[in-house]
């Protein structure tokens, strides 16, 4: 019948690349993400100006040819600051996603494989973490253990754990009754081996999509914490920290706030587009729904 699946989920790497690069969301998101990552990497070797040098004479200059995005209250070049700040914003979000995947995915897979009370306990624990408004708890953690990038990473990372646990569990639960898993069990394979060989490769795509979403949320969360003065501390900088500094100077120099904010928006937008594109390409079921 014509309702049969016409496109199986896997058609090889070449097909994936072709499909991905004909998807507008993916291409835009991928290009933006690469651009931002490249900007952060370049900042290690070169920035238009040295951001450790303070020049009060040049303070709060509006955008010009010399300073494309203007200068801040210490006369530092904002473009250079944004490039350096990208490192922190990206690093915090990246490690936090890593924590979420590293802890959450095994937990979720374990719950799905074992079922019963282990599953019940883990899921109740998940609900518990969800009951704490994430940002509030992050504020609490950083406030208690002291502000700083490392504590921000831990705080954001903890809240990624139940997200990935939930996604991995849901994906794995849907796979366990499949006939190929039953066949693997009939071949005497242990739950661990089946999880590694069959479950993980088949939930990798939904995890990847979730990772881009959490990455974007991580950037926003880091910005929020730093904006409250709880994230990156001087002399380190990050986009949220720049907004913290800009807050009181908004009236006279709105560009101080506009450019770091735009950096956040563009990055998060890029990551979300990348995630949407990946989902379209990887999940044929959702592709149909679009």
């Amino acid at each position: 019948m014509s309702t049969e699946p016409t496109s199986p989920p896997v058609e090889g790497a070449a097909h994936f690349v072709r499909a991905a690069f004909s998807n507008v969301s993916f291409v835009t998101g991928f290009a933006t993400t690469v651009l931002i990552a490249a900007m952060a990497l370049v900042s290690f070797m070169w920035t238009p100006y040295d951001i450790t040098l303070i020049s009060i004479a040049d303070k709060q200059l509006t955008p010009s040819v010399q300073h494309l995005f203007g200068t801040d209250h210490f006369g530092r070049d904002i473009l250079s600051m944004i490039m350096v700040g990208a490192r922190n914003s990206i690093a915090v979000a990246f490690v936090a996603v890593g924590i979420g995947i590293g802890v959450g995915v095994p937990l979720g897979c374990w719950a799905a494989a074992r079922g019963g009370w282990i599953d019940e306990v883990l899921m109740r624990f998940n609900d518990l973490v969800f009951a704490f408004p994430a940002l509030l708890s992050a504020i609490m953690i950083t406030a208690i253990f002291g502000p700083g990038a490392v504590n921000a990473i831990i705080a954001i990372g903890i809240f990624n754990v139940p997200v990935f646990a939930r996604v991995a569990r849901a994906g794995a639960m849907a796979l366990w009754p499949r006939e190929y898993i039953l066949a693997a069990r009939a071949s005497g394979k242990s739950a661990t081996l089946i999880t590694i060989e069959h479950i993980l490769p088949n939930i990798a795509s939904i995890l990847l999509v979730q990772a881009t979403i959490q990455f974007a949320l991580g950037i926003l969360a880091e910005a929020g914490l730093s904006y409250l003065g709880l994230g990156a501390q001087p002399p380190m900088t990050s986009w949220g920290r720049m907004l913290f500094d800009a807050q009181t100077r908004m009236m006279g120099a709105p560009h101080l706030a506009i450019f770091p904010g735009l950096a956040i928006v563009v990055t998060v937008l890029g990551l979300n587009l990348l995630g949407d594109g990946l989902r379209d390409v990887l999940d044929p079921r959702l592709r149909r729904a679009r």
């Binding site: 019948m1 014509s2 309702t3 049969e4 699946p5 199986p8 989920p9 896997v10 058609e11 090889g12 499949r178 006939e179 190929y180 039953l182 066949a183 693997a184 069990r185 009939a186 071949s187 005497g188 394979k189 242990s190 060989e197 069959h198 490769p201 088949n202």
Partner: protein, 540 residues
């Protein structure tokens, strides 16, 4: 003028050509059977005449219903036609009803919309219609929700919706494919009666020649979007003038050649099942009562000898798949014993089960869900080699996979392909190759051919028969299809509500069933020869 006339209908979706020059007519009050295998375009033909095609579809040609040009009619005119003049019944009753609306609302909705009557009158008419399709008020008030009904009952609601306004034409797209044979017979009877009493035309779409032969006066056979053969049912299917018609008819009644089993090949049974029972935790009725367990399998005992082929037949939900899973040690019985070569399986740890697992493998129904889509054939077919004490080397492994592939009629070159590169029938061959690779003595096959088209099904049955004769592997065939049981097994067990109610030699049980459940199954099973026989008598 005919009620429905389709002339030179072409249909494409995107760049795919779905229908090529389809011609078809239905007279007032006539039943036309539209038969074809997967991808023949029979469902798309139905959706075209309802004009419910996907967005990218483009149809050309002429479709005239009762003087209305369907392809050219404005959407508003189509809305007046659908449900009012043409009713449609779909394949999947479980998803065809809106889960958040009562059955009363869903039947009355169309009545209110087309007849413009008030809520009370619409409800009365919906009530009468539900009574007519066999859902009486006492058990099925209008306030029931779809989830409170079984699949067969839901299909009755769908039929009530389709027939509520006494349409001139009813389109039924595989209306019984998702139901078991007993329900299938009931739903077909209902359709036949409704069509007779209301003089409706019926376009009955089916993959099953026997069903169509039983129901339709005329039949149109399609393949790859084209009409192959068309005409009066008895003549077409008896004369089989068209080669494709002959191929289909022969495949539907195909019985593979098997060397009959020499009796008493071995004294000791290969598999011994004794008093096996499986309970599942039931749902709690109220806060204080204990949940009542649901007994899926109840006190089942039987023995299977080496090289024997046994069928386990029964309606859906009778517990046959649960029993299969327990035999395969994928599920544990609540009580009872299962022995393979005298070795108790039910108490063994996963590790101690390895030798037993080498001796029994499994083939499932769904040729699409049976393989991890991300692995290549070599890895998929080699998976049970994990059970060997010493893992074979890479080249040994490839050799064994090649041998298994050869055994099922595939080539060694297929080893480096992905499962999606194969057709449904080929995948079922892969499934069998995987089951064979450890040289098991027993293969448990759970509905292994019910998802396949008839011509493919015949080939796979041949393969099963061949392997049984050649390798002496024993089968436990779980199926709802008595044709399959007849074709491939020596012994049959009839299962009903968790119990084995009848057993014996396949031919004698199926020719002359003794138990109620057995009689019901046999009577309900569609049979092409019998249907044609009846048709001949009816004409005389």
């Amino acid at each position: 003028m005919s009620l429905l006339e389709i002339e030179k209908l072409d249909l494409s979706i995107g760049k795919f050509e779905i229908l090529k020059g389809v011609d078809l007519t239905i007279e007032q009050g006539e039943v036309l059977g539209l038969v074809g295998e997967s991808g023949s375009g029979k469902s798309m033909t139905a959706l075209t005449l309802m004009r419910l095609l996907p967005d990218l579809a483009h149809a050309s040609g002429r479709v005239t219903f009762d003087g209305v040009d369907i392809l050219g009619a404005p959407e508003a005119a189509m809305n007046r036609l659908r449900g009012n003049e043409i009713g449609m019944v779909f394949q999947e009753p479980m998803t065809a009803l809106n889960p958040v609306k009562t059955i009363g609302e869903q039947v009355a909705e169309g009545i209110r919309w087309h007849a413009g009557v008030n809520r009370k009158d619409a409800d009365d008419r919906a009530r009468a219609m539900l009574d007519r399709v066999g859902l009486p008020e006492s058990k099925f008030p209008l306030s029931r929700y779809p989830h409170e009904l079984s699949g067969g009952q839901r299909q009755r609601v769908v039929i009530a919706i389709a027939c509520a306004l006494e349409p001139k034409l009813l389109v039924a797209d595989e209306p019984t494919t998702a139901l078991d044979v007993v329900l299938q017979a009931q739903i077909l009877d209902l359709l036949r009666d409704l069509v007779d009493e209301r003089k409706m035309g019926l376009l009955l779409i089916s993959h099953d020649l026997a069903v169509v032969a039983d129901m339709a006066e005329r039949v149109t056979i399609m393949r790859h979007g084209e009409v192959m053969d068309s005409g009066e049912t008895g003549r077409i299917l008896t004369e089989k003038a068209h080669p494709y018609t002959r191929q289909l008819a022969e495949a539907s009644t195909h019985v593979p050649e098997r060397t009959p089993l020499a009796d008493g090949r071995s004294e000791r049974p290969l598999l011994e099942v004794r008093d096996v029972t499986r309970d599942y935790a039931g749902r709690r009725r109220s806060l204080f009562s204990k949940p009542e367990p649901f007994r899926a399998v109840s006190g089942v005992s039987f023995a299977l000898h080496e090289g024997q082929s046994m069928a386990l037949v029964g309606r859906s939900g009778c517990g046959k798949s649960t029993l299969a899973r327990m035999i395969l040690a994928l599920d544990r019985p609540t009580s009872g014993s299962i022995r393979l070569f005298g070795d108790e399986l039910t108490t063994k740890s996963e590790n101690d089960l390895r030798p037993a697992r080498r001796n029994m493998q499994v083939v499932f129904q769904d040729p699409y869900g049976s393989f991890n889509p991300r692995h290549k054939v070599e890895r998929l077919v080699a998976e049970p080699l994990h059970l060997l004490e010493t893992q074979p080397s890479r080249s040994e492994r490839r050799e064994r996979v090649a041998q298994a592939l050869a055994e099922v009629g595939l080539s060694a070159g297929d080893m480096d392909k992905y499962p999606h590169e194969f057709s449904g029938g080929q995948r079922q061959r892969l499934s069998i190759a995987r089951a064979l690779i450890t040289r098991p003595k027993l293969i448990v096959a759970d509905e292994p051919v019910s998802a396949l088209d008839v011509s493919i099904r015949a080939q796979i049955l041949d393969l099963f028969a061949d392997l049984n004769s050649r390798l002496g592997v024993a089968y436990l065939f779980i199926t709802h299809d008595l044709m399959v049981a007849r074709a491939i097994t020596d012994q049959v067990m009839v299962m009903h509500e968790g119990e084995i109610v009848e057993r014996g030699n396949t031919a004698s049980v199926l020719d002359n069933p003794q138990s109620e459940a057995g009689k019901m199954l046999v009577a309900a099973s569609p049979d092409l020869e019998r249907a044609l026989e009846r048709r001949r008598f009816a004409r005389v």
